[in-house]
């Protein structure tokens, strides 16, 4: 929206992403990448058309149903969006807390995930006491705690150094390959796009190339 005149950020997007894919969404600023990400993540609903996630049409869902749907989506933001007053462990637990998991179970699970992303010794630290790369791992751990259908990452390399980027890429590939987690990354970074199995390019709200989902599915299956 600009003023009161609606400006469509996306026009005519027709896209399928299958389970197990590792997809990069690329495009210049203002091409509608983030809008697409918000729609896929059920943070927003389209004014026209529909988004179907796991056979559920988001435009048909009410606010509560959308909230429940989001519990199955792992979001990792460019600025991590950790809650500053909570420790790494508490941040990771938060999603599970919202799902109503018992304190004992969610603590065990959060510890396990934090250890798996290499933060076993940083669990009691608050975000301000962690490096950018570590904060990002906490954010990924929180997303993984949701047992997500897919991980959505928004510009994951925008705020970290090269070394962190490399280890992030390794982590993402590992999650995709060994655990079969679907990964969708919105990025400017050609390096990331290269590592993804498929790249979708957006320009001015239009998909100009969407790679080949068939190949991805074959690889992931």
């Amino acid at each position: 929206m600009q003023g009161s005149v609606p400006v469509p950020a996306l026009r005519g997007v027709d896209l399928d992403i299958n389970a197990g894919e590792f997809v990069a969404i690329m495009g210049p600023s203002g091409s509608g990448k983030s809008t697409l990400l918000n729609l896929i993540g059920a943070l927003d609903v389209p004014t026209d058309g529909k988004i179907v996630i796991d056979r559920e049409d988001t435009s048909q869902l009410n606010r509560n149903q959308l909230a429940k749907l989001r519990r199955r989506i792992g979001f990792v933001f460019q600025y991590f969006n950790l809650i500053p007053r909570l420790t790494a462990l508490q941040n990771v637990e938060l999603g599970m807390t919202i799902q109503g998991m018992s304190p004992k179970k969610r603590r065990e699970k959060a510890i396990r995930i934090l250890e798996s992303v290499g933060l076993g010794d940083r669990m009691k630290h608050k975000p301000s006491e962690l490096s950018g790369g570590q904060q990002q791992r906490v954010a990924i751990a929180r997303a993984l705690g949701q047992d997500p259908k897919f991980l959505l990452l928004d510009e994951p390399t925008g705020n970290v150094d090269t070394a962190t980027r490399d280890s992030l890429l390794t982590l993402l590939k590992e999650l995709n390959a060994s655990q079969g987690i679907t990964i969708i990354v919105v990025t400017h970074d050609p390096e990331i796009a290269q590592q993804a199995r498929r790249t979708i390019r957006l320009v001015d709200g239009l998909v100009v190339s969407k790679g080949n989902p068939e190949i991805s599915r074959e690889v992931s299956s």
Binding site: L43, D44, R70, N81, L94, T97, Q146
Partner: protein, 433 residues
């Protein structure tokens, strides 16, 4: 989200903003403290008034007096009217006429003092009616109706009178007539004096002494009083009902029987009715006072709303994160409401404590002023035993209502910010800086 987790989350949010939460809590505390202190004091004051009142009055008696605005201005209640009244109802077990009091003078050291409560009454019946106040530990109350000794109130034993048992009191009263020209005034046509020995001194009674024995009274047996004052006109006739705590219906019956016989020529005063009226007035005053104190609670509520709106603005991103993680609107709403609920509960608890302390402090101060100023009888320290003192009363109902009000205010004023938070769209919330 589990209830316990919601509470924990709200608690954590408060903990990180201790000063702000503390000040908001203080606001609620002050409001609650004001209400609790004022109502506890008012309860105590009311109880004290009732206590003082009951010292001078018995609840099972009625006072029959001449209606000065009645149809017959020359009508007087005479001693023999007590015989008429006693036959009116089977519920009446004692009728005591109280001879009209005259202003009497006493001369002490060349100085004239006037006494307004010199009364003629049958001592035995008077003691029967007021067994706790018309008694003595100093001297003895004469039984014989023609005995010319007097019984005096405790004030008459103090400055400037200083009478003791065995002393003689010379009372003087002046017979006057009304002269209309040039302006209406009383002219003394004769003076009558007589000396009475003091037989007994009453204990300190305090209270208002309406009808019953009073600290400044001088009591003469009926027969010598009739002789001295040369009258059979009564001030009032006290009627006692045959049970210590009569039902209102019995009181009403007796009242109606007397009214039937005398019509509008007389007034009937029921202490119970007066006490009820006093209590009703106090109830109203209490509510009024609490209402004024309630304004401070509303101010505190606005404080909560202010702080929570700021908090929602500051934590918009956090709200967005909660929603991204799948929190429902209701969960966000209750997370914020629980914060204000904590503030309300803590504020109420503190407020009740502070209010209680304040009421005790003010009770002592007010009690001190009243006694020190001699407002309610007794001079200085001597009034301590029976003087006016306020012990604040904190009833369980008052505590309950204080907590309910504190919590209601917290929730009502926290509702708007919380619902604003809950209605935020996740995309918009995350976009905020």
């Amino acid at each position: 989200m589990r209830l316990f987790d919601q509470l924990g989350y709200a608690g954590n949010a408060i903990k990180t903003r201790k000063v702000r939460a503390g000040l908001t809590t203080l606001g609620i505390s002050i409001g609650i403290a004001a209400i609790v202190a004022l109502l506890a004091l008012s309860n105590g004051f009311q109880a004290e008034i009732s206590r003082q009142f009951e010292l001078g009055f018995s609840t099972n008696v009625l006072y029959v007096t001449k209606n000065t605005e009645g149809p017959d201005p020359d009508f007087e209640l005479h001693l023999n009217d007590s015989d008429v009244i006693s036959g009116l109802s089977p519920h009446i077990d004692l009728v005591l006429p109280y001879l009209r009091t005259n202003l009497c003078n006493v001369t002490i050291g060349g100085q004239n003092y006037s006494l307004s409560s010199v009364g003629g009454v049958n001592f035995t019946a008077f003691h029967d009616l007021f067994p706790t106040t018309f008694v003595t530990t100093n001297g003895s109350i004469p039984i014989e109706d023609s005995n010319t000794s007097v019984v005096i109130g405790s004030k008459i034993t103090k400055d400037p009178y200083n009478y003791k048992v065995g002393d003689n009191i010379t009372l003087t009263w002046f017979q006057t007539v009304l002269v209309l020209e040039p302006a209406p005034h009383q002219v003394v046509i004769a003076s009558h004096n007589r000396t009475f020995p003091v037989a007994a001194i009453l204990p300190e009674i305090g209270g208002f002494g309406i009808g019953g024995p009073s600290d400044s009274g001088i009591y003469i047996q009926l027969t010598p009083a009739i002789e001295f004052f040369n009258t059979t006109v009564t001030n009032s006739i006290i009627v006692r009902i045959d049970s210590a705590n009569p039902d209102q219906s019995v009181i009403d019956n007796v009242t109606a029987a007397i009214k039937n016989a005398y019509g509008k020529k007389i007034n009937i005063i029921s202490p119970t009715a007066i006490l009820n009226t006093i209590n009703r007035i106090f109830g109203f005053i209490s509510i009024f006072i609490a209402g004024i104190a309630g304004i401070s609670l509303v101010v505190a509520g606005i404080g909560i709303m202010n702080v929570q709106i700021t908090s929602v603005l500051e934590r918009t991103r956090e709200i967005g994160i909660l929603k991204v993680l799948g929190a429902k609107d209701r969960t966000v709403l209750s997370a914020f409401l629980f914060e204000t609920l904590f503030i309300g509960l803590l504020g109420s608890a503190l407020g009740i404590g502070i209010g209680w302390i304040l009421s005790i402090v003010f009770g002592v101060i007010i009690g001190g002023t009243m006694t020190g100023g001699g407002m309610m009888g007794g001079d200085g320290g001597s009034a301590a035993s029976n003087g006016f003192r306020i012990s604040p009363i904190l009833t369980p109902e008052l505590i309950l209502w204080a907590v309910i009000f504190g919590v209601i205010v917290a929730i009502v004023f926290g509702l708007y910010p919380a619902s604003r938070a809950s209605r935020l769209k996740p995309v918009d919330a995350l976009r905020s800086e």
